[in-house]
Point group: C2
Amino acid sequence: MSYSAPLNDMMFVLEDLCDLDGVSKLPGLEDATPDMISAILEEAGKFAGQVLAPLNVIGDQKGLTLTDGKVGTPEGWAAAYHQLVEMGWNSPTTDPEHGGMGLPAVVNACIQEMFNGANTAFQLCSLLTQGAIEAIEGYAEDSLKETYLPKLVTGEWTGTMNLTEPQAGSDLAAIRSKAEPQGDHYLVSGQKIYITYGEHDMAENIIHLVLARLPDAPAGVKGISLFVVPKFLVNADGSLGERNDVRCVSIEHKLGIHASPTCTLAFGDNGGATGYLVGEPNKGLQYMFAMMNSARLGVGLQGVGIAEHATQHAINYAMERKQGGTPEGAEATIMGHPDIRRMLGLMKARTEAARVIAYRAARSLDYAHRATDADEKARHQRRVDLLIPIAKGWSTELGIENASLGVQVHGGMGYVEETGAAQHLRDARITTIYEGTTGIQALDLVGRKIQRDGGVAAKELVADMRASAKALGEQTSAHADWAMLCATIMDAADTVEDLTDWLLAQNGSEPLAGAVTILECFGICLGAWAMGDAAISAATRLEQSRSPAHAQAKLKIVHFYMKNVLPKAASLSATVKGGAGSVLDLTAADFGVEA
Amino acid sequence: MSYSAPLNDMMFVLEDLCDLDGVSKLPGLEDATPDMISAILEEAGKFAGQVLAPLNVIGDQKGLTLTDGKVGTPEGWAAAYHQLVEMGWNSPTTDPEHGGMGLPAVVNACIQEMFNGANTAFQLCSLLTQGAIEAIEGYAEDSLKETYLPKLVTGEWTGTMNLTEPQAGSDLAAIRSKAEPQGDHYLVSGQKIYITYGEHDMAENIIHLVLARLPDAPAGVKGISLFVVPKFLVNADGSLGERNDVRCVSIEHKLGIHASPTCTLAFGDNGGATGYLVGEPNKGLQYMFAMMNSARLGVGLQGVGIAEHATQHAINYAMERKQGGTPEGAEATIMGHPDIRRMLGLMKARTEAARVIAYRAARSLDYAHRATDADEKARHQRRVDLLIPIAKGWSTELGIENASLGVQVHGGMGYVEETGAAQHLRDARITTIYEGTTGIQALDLVGRKIQRDGGVAAKELVADMRASAKALGEQTSAHADWAMLCATIMDAADTVEDLTDWLLAQNGSEPLAGAVTILECFGICLGAWAMGDAAISAATRLEQSRSPAHAQAKLKIVHFYMKNVLPKAASLSATVKGGAGSVLDLTAADFGVEA
């Protein structure tokens, strides 16, 4: 079960579909030349393939131990983490002056895809640390930054996000954890569940970011504050002090990501855990939301990464598995069966499309942070905001679908755990749930990202899609088949525009009923746009004899996508517009009837 | 995690959509009156809900042991099996004169759905025994029947089907196991894998049905014979004799159905296992194919059963899980969220549609076996042959989809194993693989069942669909919304006819590339037909105040189906006709390119 980072496709997407040249002209990113990036990705790919991937299976099989509140990770896990820290892979985008590598977000997207694809359970640790870094970097006062940031950036300390409580899942308004003022700090108490890497043995300290209520806080979402609660208190000289009043009382027995500890943490059982307020009181949720784009993109890249890994796994199997024969009597592999190729085609086409969407979201993150022109900055921020729920929601759903198809390609062997195909499915299954379920992503898309801005960001996107279609349409003399590509992308743009207009015209709950279907439809249509652009680039590369095998395969998979993936968009659009009413008509009573 | 047999819906489908009255007029089924059937199903439902469902979770968690070739089932497993045998549930359709209950196949479909839905891993034992019964009953000489049938029918002995070998999965031509003549019997040797309940501790003897080659057998599928190989030899007086030369060398560690032993069996390590030829030499595969309809229907009913169980599980959770509040500040359950109802609606609508398709296949089995009119018999056999791959393929695929949606409805709780939602997904995942993968079902559908008979069976089905649509269209004065139902079912019929014509017009490999997509499309369209008929019956029941709550909910779910499930058929049809070429264009080289 080897994993090979898809470096050719990553560089293709970076250079040709995300304009890496343009990104590297942004202030602070001048070192991000294609040559330098290519070398970095090659190194990251080695780490993913040679270190993380082999541990993926071990982690799944061995799982975790919990003894006296201490979580033990599987053999090899801590050593690999130390290697990651030493090589500087923990926080690739952080400014070099804070100890990071200062890479563009779009390049980090490649690294995150690789590491998550090779070993989702492992990489979750850094993903959560990244969230803690952003919270502290963005909102904490300087003394907290000085104390905690440097070691979080290197990864010597890891971070966690403590949001969920038993009664407060997707609805954080119900949070009950408390924080009592006590001189220069607070005493935090309460129980948090589903805390990823809430306790482990890979780093000397764990910095918990905790949502809790101050004594005088208003009810609901406007009364939630954010606190830093370290596992070990930190002395003035930076050395570790006494153990804080927080402990891991249990870890979950989960379907997948077995080696990623999902902890229940008890804060303040012995009087209160020492915590420090981040930013202003009662703004905790706002700070959390500000960090969500990168965390959600990170999970979207888990979707892409698992989709890629499952695809490679299935391709390798199909190349080797002998079954049946040729008409001449020779043994043949199952790759010869059209249905196997259909499944592999679906896996490959959707993975490559989702990769482009996620990387383009990351590229816009770079522009939104660094562009000097205010309009350009704002336009990219709108694009980020629009793309993130799609990159998260669609990539993770298709990560599951790909993993399930991967099992199917393996046949009976796929159902036997030692093959490893089933692990992808088990691991992928969480990605549509955490960091906001697909339903939450979809509400974000239709409500905040489309209805609230009057469809501005969506219409900008439609214009870009039409420009891509037009570019294809202008070259039909050289490429006769591009007339079809042009027409299908025009259709996809029409579908996105039509659903945007539909959303803007609704006054009732129909958008809520249709939201997830709209998200999938947008994902498929944006994938078609990405594939159209890919066709142009691949044709150019072919003419220039640059990576011709990759370019040739890309052209075929573009056609496959248009004919085998895109048609679903029309039915999804019809379902939204025709079906939302019958969703709303279903009441609890209809489900409660004794069947 | 309770399971409640959907008795109301089962009786509705039996009486109104499968004409139970007509079935009970068939020779030998005269006792199958609705009252008697209803009483039987109620008893079966109790066994499913009270005995099998509680063991489902235990079986998943405890799994199996293998010690010195002996497989230990989880605590309670053997006792429940003995109860099943005592109550006569092992082989409900077998003729009473052979010790069975003599129930119609369509009634047995309900029982199989219940038992499989409550506990798939458990019921697999009887499903395999059923196959052994049919093989012996249909093809073995009388002495073998007398020796083995009675105890297989009661379930005192269980049966297995030994087809697969490491190099021979879907392609049985590659079978290498051998049988050497030795006086009145044969010495069988070879290794078989994936043998369900190949070894266990629930019954005193296990009767293996084994495919193997005679010394002079021709190569390929025409040289395979079928043998009975008992675990313990049977003495002339029927008592158990010495242990035969077959042993379980390993069991698989699987994604799901943990308590169903999947064995590797070694035959003949000590000179040869005593076996008895079933029927004529070299006809083994033909005999296997003849049994496939009921085995495949059985697995299809696993799909329906798991789909139903997962739906109930998710509904129960959504009814109880508090999250968020109403505008008035009261706590609300997640059932209030439109996206939760969309997911539950999809689960419920597809389950109910798939149930009708599977039961109608079973109903036609009854007619094909028992009708006195030769034309009617033949027509129903064609219908069985056409429906089986759809009932198997579509029901199992949507069993997986439903189980996955069930996890999603549970949110983070769904990913934690103790909730039980994830078990449905893990258990369901095998059903699209064994007894012929979905790809194999689809090849059967497009090749044997449509192209080979020139589309006769498919066109008969289209005519039935149009008759249902017409019946709806004739009542639009009383039911204004039935104009829509009529039109959508007409569309569904057109789609089935159009794809049938497309298939008949193809000469190349396009049907192989489009087969799975066609199968899904047919499933969805036939589901619409079933739902249309259900609307007519439900409206009649409402007028008569018979089960009005069920009828009311049915009418809503029919509308939901037409607007939220059926639209996909159009995109599938477009994918088949437009996309098959681009599937065939993909070669191994395209997948082998270093990405």
